[in-house]
C-alpha cells in the first residue's frame, strides 16, 4: 500500500496512527489494570491510595477468594454448563447443517428458515417466555434447564456457520464416498466431520464464550446458591461484599482469568466464528 516515493509524507501520519492506537489501547486496558492493582492491595490501601502500583503486592485477597467454597461451586457449575452446552450445540447443529447442505428435499428452504429463527430473537428478548416454559417443565433450579436454553439459542447461528462450511466441501467427495459404498451417515461421519474440524472449532469457541458469559438465563432460572454460575455469582458477590472493593477486584480477576486464557489460545477460532456468524447470518 505505502509507496516509496511518498515515504516522507507518510512519516507523520504513521506517528499519528500510533498515537491514536495508543490512546485507544490505554482506554481499553485501563479498567483491567485497575482491577489487577486493586486485587493486589489490602482493603485499606484500596480506600486510601487506589491508583498507585501495588508494592508490595498483597496476595491475601486472591487467597481469600480461592478458599471460598462458593467460588469453586460457581467455577464447577460454569464449566459443567459450558461443556455440556458446547458438546450439545456442536453435535445437534452439525447434524442439521449436514442435511441442509447435502440433501435435497421438498420444503427445504422453509424448514431452513425455521431453523434460523434464533437469529431473529436474541435470548434477552425471549427470556420471559423461556422462564414460563422452564417452569412448566419443572426445570427451575436445575442446570439442565440452563443447558437446554443456552443450547437452543446457540443453534441457529451454529447451523448457519456449519452449513456454509459443509457446502464448500466439493460434492465429488460425496460421490466418491458413495461409490466406495459409504452411505449418508458414513460420509457424514468419516469424510465431512474430519474435514470440518476448523469450523467445528469455530462454533465451539463461539458457544464457549456465549455460555461462559451468560448472565440472564441462570439469573432467571436459578436461585439456589450452590447452582450459581460465575457471572450470576459474581453479581451476587458484588452485592454482598460491595464495600470491600479489593476483594471484589480479586473475585473479578479470578473469574475473568479462564476467559482470558481461553481467548489467548482460541483467538483465531473465536474471531472467525464471530465474523462468520455476523456476516453470513
Amino acid at each position: 500500500m505505502k509507496h516509496n516515493s511518498k515515504n516522507k509524507k507518510n512519516k507523520s501520519p504513521m506517528i499519528f496512527k500510533y498515537i491514536i492506537l495508543t490512546i485507544a489501547a490505554i482506554f481499553i486496558l485501563f479498567p483491567i489494570v485497575m482491577i489487577i492493582f486493586g486485587t493486589l492491595k489490602t482493603r485499606g490501601e484500596f480506600m486510601t491510595v487506589p491508583y498507585t502500583l501495588p508494592i508490595p503486592p498483597n496476595w491475601g485477597n486472591i487467597k481469600r477468594v480461592l478458599t471460598m467454597p462458593i467460588f469453586w461451586y460457581m467455577m464447577r457449575n460454569s464449566i459443567l454448563v459450558m461443556i455440556v452446552t458446547t458438546v450439545g450445540v456442536v453435535v445437534v447443529a452439525s447434524l442439521s447443517a449436514f442435511v441442509f447442505s447435502r440433501i435435497e428435499f421438498r420444503m427445504k428452504n422453509m424448514l431452513f428458515n425455521f431453523f434460523t429463527l434464533g437469529l431473529m430473537f436474541p435470548v434477552t428478548v425471549a427470556i420471559l417466555p423461556i422462564y414460563l416454559i422452564i417452569r412448566q417443565l419443572n426445570l427451575i433450579n436445575s442446570l439442565t434447564g440452563v443447558i437446554l436454553v443456552q443450547t437452543a439459542f446457540q443453534l441457529s447461528i451454529s447451523i448457519v456457520i456449519l452449513r456454509n462450511f459443509f457446502m464448500s466441501v466439493p460434492f465429488e467427495l460425496q460421490d466418491a464416498a458413495s461409490i466406495d459404498g459409504c452411505n449418508n451417515l458414513g460420509f457424514f461421519w468419516c469424510v465431512l466431520l474430519p474435514l470440518a474440524r476448523p469450523s467445528l472449532a469455530t462454533v465451539a469457541a463461539l458457544t464457549i464464550v456465549t455460555s461462559w458469559n451468560d448472565l440472564l438465563v441462570p439469573l432467571v432460572l436459578i436461585d439456589q446458591e450452590k447452582l450459581w454460575t460465575l457471572p450470576l455469582g459474581t453479581m451476587q458477590f458484588q452485592g454482598q461484599y460491595g464495600m470491600d472493593l479489593s476483594l471484589v477486584s480479586a473475585f473479578l480477576l479470578l473469574s475473568a482469568i479462564p476467559a482470558i486464557i481461553f481467548y489467548i489460545f482460541a483467538e483465531r477460532q473465536l474471531v472467525s466464528g464471530l465474523t462468520a456468524g455476523a456476516l453470513k447470518g
Binding site: 491514536i20 492506537l21 486493586g38 480506600m47 487506589p50 431453523f115 422462564y131 440472564l216
Partner: protein
C-alpha cells in the same frame, strides 16, 4: 449429485440406481433423524414459548394458577401509554444513535489503521477485542468502581479533581449523565467487535482495486471515501443491524450499574421487562412487553434481510 460420471465396474452393485427405493428411504430417515433434535429444541424453547407469551399477554396474570382474568389488549394499551416504557424505548433509540455516530466510526477508524500492514497490528487488535470476551457482569462491576462518585475512590473523578475547571460528577446518579456514562461502557466493550467486522470486510476488498486507484493518483482520503467505504457497505449494514439488535439486548450492564435508574433515566426495554416480569411478577404485563420487543427485533431482522438480499443480487 452427479454420480453417473465416475462409476467403476467393481462397485456397480452398490450404486444408488440398483435400489433407488432403499436409498430414498435412507435419505428420508437421515433427514428426519438429523433434523429432529434441533427442531425439538427450537420448538420447545423458541416457538412454543413465544405463542404462549402472546396468549398470556392478554391476561392480568401474576404467574400463579391458571390465567383466568382475560383483559384483551389492555396490557398493550397500558404499555404503550406508560411514560416509563416510552422512556425506555427512547433510551434504546438514543443508544442506537450514539452507536451509529460515535461507536461505529471509531471502530471503522481503528479498523482502517489496524487492518493494514502496520507493525504491531496483531497486538493492538488483540487488545481492542479483549473486552468482548469479558462478561457484561465483570465489565459492569469494573466500571462501577471507576465511576465511583467519591474522588478518593473513583478514578474518573480523581482525574477530574486534578483539572481545576472541572467538578467531580456523580456519573451514575445524575439523570443527565447516566446514559452517556453507560454508553461509554458499551463502547469500551463492543467497539473491538465492530472493528473486527470491518477488518474482515476490508480483507475481502480485492487489493487490485486499490492498487489501480493508487496508479490513477487517488490520495488516501479519496481512497477511503470513494473506494473503501462504498465497498464496505455490506459490512456497515451488518454492523448497524447488530447495534440495533444489541441495544435491545442490553441488560446485564444496565441492571448491574443502575437498575435503570436514577428515576428511570437509564431504563431500557429489557430492564423494564425484567422488572415487571421477575421483580413485580406481573407476568401478563411482562409478556406484553416481551411480545413488543420480539416484534421490534423481528421487524429489524426482516428489514435487514431484505436490504442484504438486494445488495447480494446487485453485486
Amino acid at each position: 449429485m452427479n454420480t453417473k460420471g465416475s462409476k467403476e465396474d467393481k462397485n456397480i452393485k452398490l450404486l444408488p440406481q440398483t435400489n433407488t427405493f432403499t436409498w430414498q428411504l435412507q435419505n428420508n430417515m437421515t433427514i428426519i433423524l438429523f433434523l429432529l433434535p434441533a427442531f425439538i429444541l427450537l420448538f420447545i424453547f423458541l416457538v412454543y414459548p413465544i405463542f404462549r407469551s402472546a396468549y398470556y399477554s392478554l391476561f392480568n396474570w401474576k404467574g400463579f394458577g391458571p390465567a383466568v382474568d382475560y383483559i384483551g389488549i389492555e396490557n398493550y394499551t397500558r404499555l404503550l401509554t406508560d411514560k416509563i416504557f416510552l422512556k425506555a424505548v427512547k433510551n434504546g433509540i438514543l443508544i442506537v444513535i450514539f452507536s451509529l455516530v460515535i461507536q461505529l466510526p471509531i471502530a471503522m477508524g481503528l479498523a482502517l489503521i489496524v487492518g493494514r500492514d502496520i507493525p504491531g497490528k496483531a497486538f493492538f487488535r488483540a487488545i481492542f477485542f479483549m473486552p468482548y470476551i469479558l462478561s457484561e457482569v465483570i465489565t459492569a462491576i469494573m466500571w462501577l468502581i471507576l465511576y465511583n462518585p467519591n474522588p478518593r475512590r473513583g478514578f474518573l473523578n480523581a482525574i477530574i479533581n486534578i483539572i481545576p475547571v472541572l467538578e467531580p460528577q456523580a456519573w451514575l446518579a445524575d439523570t443527565r449523565l447516566v446514559l452517556p456514562a453507560i454508553f461509554v461502557v458499551l463502547t469500551w466493550k463492543y467497539v473491538g467487535f465492530h472493528m473486527l467486522l470491518y477488518i474482515t470486510g476490508l480483507q475481502n476488498i480485492p487489493r487490485d482495486i486499490e492498487e489501480a486507484a493508487l496508479i490513477d493518483g487517488v490520495n488516501s482520503r479519496q481512497m477511503v471515501t470513494h473506494i473503501t467505504l462504498p465497498l464496505l457497505a455490506g459490512t456497515i449494514k451488518t454492523s448497524i443491524y447488530l447495534s440495533i439488535i444489541g441495544s435491545l439486548q442490553v441488560y446485564a450492564l444496565v441492571w448491574i450499574m443502575t437498575r435503570g435508574g436514577p428515576v428511570n433515566a437509564s431504563e431500557v426495554m429489557s430492564t423494564y421487562m425484567y422488572r415487571y416480569s421477575f421483580v413485580r411478577f406481573e407476568l401478563g404485563y411482562g409478556s406484553a412487553v416481551a411480545i413488543i420487543m420480539l416484534l421490534i427485533s423481528l421487524t429489524f431482522s426482516i428489514i435487514y434481510l431484505r436490504l442484504t438480499r438486494n445488495t447480494e443480487n446487485v453485486s
